[in-house]
């Protein structure tokens, strides 16, 4: 009996030592946007991957509140219990002072779809600018044929979304035949409902069939709201695009309604990058600091089968 116990122990220890660099490490996943589907997906991927490798994961969510997020980062930095911080979907420049505390305490800070500031280790992200380019070009060239009118639904305080908006701003300059009707900010608490209301009102203000060619949404939720408003108003001619590739949006693309396209961010890929780089760091290997991109793909009716769950 004793012998068996020893054998088991030895086997266990070998197993553990194989991934010793992660075992027992305390990792804090911090985000203000856990309510958002995509952020939530990322947090889940990260949590599963890290826990599978033996790390102890704490998820901290501050419900859209950046100042609270700042305080919680301070708490984590001061407590000294944490081995790594992962900021998920949160602009690090908004909490730069608090992150400095973490840097000073020697805690590596990773970003997952966040942004990069000096002092951080790695931010894994889609290249939001490139995603913006991808969908805007597809919308302007393939869907609109280079002319018409467009409404933009945006949320510029978000670090990823704002880059898509910048891409939009720059590309539209090259299309003199495409006119921006208006840009409307969509709050983050209930983006579907608010976008629906905004679009309903804009449809009444532009009631003529054909007066709106397309609605460009900077992420999927307002695109969903816009599509619902169009469906209810019977304005099937208007084209909508989103970005992110969340499931509700993907299923709408599959229905072949107003929502024509979105971009799939590779969230799983981002999470994998963060975990991989973190593992290297704990293992003592050199890693290259900065942004690392997980490639994104365009979702349209043609390739929809690959994305339906």
């Amino acid at each position: 009996m004793k012998k068996i116990m020893i054998v088991v122990l030895v086997i266990l220890m070998t197993c553990l030592s194989a991934q010793a660099e992660m075992t027992g490490k305390q990792v804090a996943l911090m985000t203000p946007y856990l309510g958002s589907v995509t952020t939530n997906q990322m947090v889940e991927y990260l949590k599963d991957d890290l826990e599978a490798k033996g790390a102890v994961v704490t998820v901290i969510n501050t419900n859209n509140d950046f100042s609270l997020l700042a305080s919680r980062i301070e708490d984590v930095a001061i407590s000294g219990q944490t081995d790594a911080i992962v900021l998920v979907s949160a602009d690090p420049s908004q909490v730069a002072n608090q992150l400095q505390d973490a840097f000073d305490a020697g805690i590596p800070v990773f970003g997952c779809d966040s942004g990069f500031i000096e002092g951080m280790a790695v931010n894994a992200t889609s290249d939001n600018y490139q995603m913006g380019e991808l969908i805007v070009h597809y919308l302007f060239d393939d869907l609109m044929g280079g002319k018409g009118t467009v409404i933009a639904l945006t949320h510029r305080p978000h670090p990823g979304v704002v880059k898509r908006c910048i891409a939009f701003d720059e590309i539209i300059k090259d299309y003199p035949d495409i006119q921006l009707i208006t840009e409307q900010h969509v709050p983050a608490e209930q983006p579907i409902n608010d976008a629906q209301t905004i679009v309903e009102n804009l449809l009444l203000a532009n009631a003529e069939e054909g007066s709106i060619t397309a609605i460009w949404a900077a992420w999927d939720e307002p695109a969903i709201g816009a599509a619902q408003a169009l469906k209810e108003a019977g304005r099937d001619e208007v084209i909508v695009t989103g970005v992110d590739g969340n499931q509700q949006a993907v299923s709408l693309v599959a229905e072949d309604g107003c929502l024509k396209a979105t971009v799939a961010q590779n969230f799983e890929g981002m999470a994998a990058i963060v975990v991989e780089e973190m593992e290297k760091l704990f293992d003592g290997q050199e890693i290259e600091f900065g942004e690392k991109y997980a490639p994104a793909t365009l979702i349209t009716l043609e390739n929809i089968e690959d994305f339906l769950e």
């Binding site: 856990l34 958002s36 939530n40 947090v43 009707i181 409902n193 629906q196 009102n201």
Partner: protein
């Protein structure tokens, strides 16, 4: 001058509403001043009106409920989760209401039994409810596998008229009647007017406070479920967007009453002002920051005008 004051006092807020409508009608005659747009507006404000009636009830007893936003979010989340789990749809809309009545009763009980400021009590409750939502959903929006029928309440139209607008009208008529013509409403106003006098008049103040808080939570919960039904998914923070604007609506509504007390019709007017502003300014394709500035300024001006009238 005196006459002007009297007019302002009695009808200032209504006049403001009419003026807003006139201005938008001149600027956008073809799109704003249409039956279709007014139906549209009625649907857009319907959710805010229902939750604001709840706030009106609590304010009529001179208390505050800061948990209405998270109560609404919770209502939507529970209801959507039940729908996902395959519970019959009628139960999906009834069970959350029962839960909300209990939560509201607890709010009222703490306030009345321990004389804790309602501000603090409901602030605590708001945080508790956010925690419960987080526990139930892990923070994620509930949207997968919601049955198609779940969206019926939020999207059905009777001819041209959205069901949501009809529900709003029913609630307005019902609670306006309750507040003005029933023993319950009269006692709530008595408590709000002077709690000590109410006690001496033999009114069981704690009991009526419980009722006010319970009804408020119920209306918040109904709002949350209707949001979820309308958008076909339950966002964990869906109700928070209504929290401040509903109190703004109640405050504007107080100015409609000669006595300066919260009242259901006033609240409807308040919601209409806010809703019409959003609608009209979006139609003018005004940037969002300008909408915020104008809406905020109009809230302040409405209250100032009424104060001038009262002096």
């Amino acid at each position: 001058m005196n006459k002007l004051k009297k007019v302002l006092q009695a009808y200032g807020t209504i006049l403001a509403l009419i003026m807003i409508v006139i201005v938008f009608s001149i600027l956008r005659p073809k799109s704003f001043f249409t039956l279709r747009n007014f139906i549209n507006i009625s649907r857009q404000i319907s959710l805010m009106v229902i939750i604001s009636i709840g706030a009106t009830l609590v304010m009529s007893i001179n208390e505050f409920d800061l948990s209405i936003g998270s109560m609404a979010s919770l209502g939507g989340v529970i209801s959507a989760l039940m729908a996902v789990a395959g519970v019959p749809l009628s139960l999906c809309f009834i069970c959350p209401v029962l839960i909300s009545l209990i939560i509201g009763w607890v709010n009222g009980w703490i306030v009345a039994r321990f004389s804790v400021l309602s501000f603090i009590t409901t602030l605590g409750m708001r945080t508790v409810l956010s925690g419960v939502i987080y526990r139930l959903t892990g923070g994620a929006t509930v949207f997968q596998d919601i049955p198609k029928g779940y969206s019926w309440l939020g999207t059905f139209r009777i001819g041209q008229i959205p069901l949501l607008s009809v529900i709003m009208v029913v609630f307005v008529i019902l609670f306006d009647y309750v507040m003005r013509h029933t023993v319950l409403g009269r006692r709530l106003y008595a408590i709000g007017g002077n709690e000590e006098t109410a006690k001496i008049s033999g009114i069981r103040v704690p009991f009526y406070k419980n009722i006010a808080f319970a009804l408020c939570a119920m209306l918040s919960c109904i709002t949350g479920m209707l949001i979820a039904s309308r958008v076909g998914s339950a966002n964990t923070t869906a109700g928070e967007g209504y929290f401040l604007s509903s109190y703004a609506a109640v405050f504007i509504g107080c100015t409609v009453s000669k006595k300066g007390i919260p009242n259901v019709i006033g609240t409807l007017v308040g919601c209409a002002i806010l809703g019409i502003l959003t609608n009209g300014l979006t139609m003018l394709q005004m940037p969002t920051y300008m909408q915020d500035i104008i809406t905020g300024a109009i809230i302040i001006i409405a209250v100032i005008i009424q104060k001038i009238g009262k002096r």
